[in-house]
Amino acid sequence: MAQGDVGALGVVAALALVALAVLLSWRGGLGLERSMAWASARALIQLLLVGVALAAIIDPSRPIALSWIWVGAMVVFAADVARRRAPEVPGLWKLAVVAFAATGAVTLGVVFGLRIFPLEARTLVPIAGLVIGNSMNSTVLAARRIVEELRDRRLEVEARLALGQPAREAARPHVRAALRTALSPQIETTKAVGIVFLPGAMTGLILAGVDPLDAVLVQAVVMYLVLGSAAVATSVIALGLVRRLFTPDHRLVRLTRPAER
């Protein structure tokens, strides 16, 4: 067994920590025992399924087209998750598909175009997953904040429209505020990396026996990818949402609060 390998026994042992969490929830009367147990079991099953599928797809003897299909499915699935997490945002599914596709195109283009990593199934699927998965949070946050801002600051937006400002210009201060809110957690995380916590990719690499310095370099690339993808995804969402929330003749559409739906 190599030094980073985890056997089935290891996973079972790690489940002791889940048991501890369940115990703490029960003692504290949080009522989260069932959902914790379910989430842990579900995550393990999902990861096992993904592992089996990944092993089949990234086998060097298979065509890389299979990996691209996988990436496409990730985009669609991530958009569906975004839509369900922010149901108050009109037309989010389509916008999110475009945003994640654009994010994938830009970041994968940089990573493989500049040969940071070689383009292989082994690198394509995990990197696409990393980029899309991480930009999902910022995308949902940005979409929600933009809708909230334009709904709650309707008077100000209409005052700007009434002065003859085009929709995009009238929305700009509010979109800017929303994007700042959506991106700042990512920026804060990036700043705290290494000092406060060692991020997942790096921890995983070190545990798997990779030289810490090499792990650091990979982690730096990962962080920049995550930051860049969040910026691309939120910008695309902002552009798309402004088009969606204003009519072609520069009127702000009616936006209801989630409770009113």
Binding site: A162, G164, Q165, R251, T256
Partner: protein, 227 residues
């Protein structure tokens, strides 16, 4: 009483205008014409559709059916951004933008000089000293006058005022009414929405009365008019 009188060369004409909102009918088949001078008051209780009718005039609202004409041109076919600069609007709540009063005026007139901005302030009875004040720190009355100055900075030909005095105290209210009178005397027709009969009697030269999304009456203000 004369009902829905016609007007030669109207400022705004509404032809069979209906507006459906998410909660029901806001306006049901409005036919009316507004004169191209003086102060037209759109009068009615809350929920009568008067603000919706006003918002149709600068296309912050679009009719579900029917047409709105501005000096004979259908608003559905016009350049809406240019139209909104010709037809300025002051809202019920003063809405200051971030920054100073100068920053606020720049939104309306990006290339205006300090002299031009001072002129706009003067038309709203504010001194040049206001230019460097932070807009959000002004009193309600001052802020509403800054909003009026901001609208005037774009040099509109027409002024729409949507219950502009409802958030103001008595002296500020009378001051704003006086300003509207001066502007209309200077050749800028004013369309003013209110539910206040006394206010309508003080300022209106023409009154359009709305009741439950329909025109109740329309005609010149005065003893024999609908006011």
């Amino acid at each position: 009483m004369i009902r829905a009188m016609t007007v030669p060369a109207p400022l705004f004409a509404f032809e069979g205008v209906a507006v459906e909102g998410s909660s029901g009918t806001l306006l049901a088949h409005v036919d009316a014409e507004l004169p191209d001078a003086g102060i037209t008051v759109m009068l009615g209780p809350s929920g009568s559709g008067k603000s919706t009718l006003l918002r149709l005039c600068n296309r912050l609202e679009a009719p579900t059916s029917g047409r709105v004409l501005f000096r004979g041109d259908d608003l559905a076919a016009c350049d809406v951004l240019a139209h909104r600069r010709r037809v300025g609007m002051v809202f019920q709540q003063p809405v200051p933008f971030g920054g100073t009063v100068r920053d606020n005026l720049r939104v309306a007139a990006p290339t205006a000089t300090d002299g031009e901005m001072t002129d706009a302030l003067a038309r709203a009875h504010l001194t040049a000293g206001f230019l460097d004040r932070i807009a959000s720190e002004l009193s309600g009355g001052e802020c509403q006058r800054v909003c009026l100055a901001r609208t005037l900075a774009a040099e509109p030909e027409v002024l729409l005022m949507d219950e502009p005095t409802s958030a103001l105290d008595e002296p500020a209210r009378l001051a704003l009414e006086g300003l509207a009178r001066e502007l209309s005397a200077d050749g800028v027709p004013v369309v003013w929405v209110t539910h206040d009969l006394d206010q309508a009697a003080r300022i209106a030269t023409w009154i359009l009365r709305l009741e439950a999304g329909r025109v109740g009456a329309s005609g010149p203000a005065g003893a024999d008019g609908p006011g």
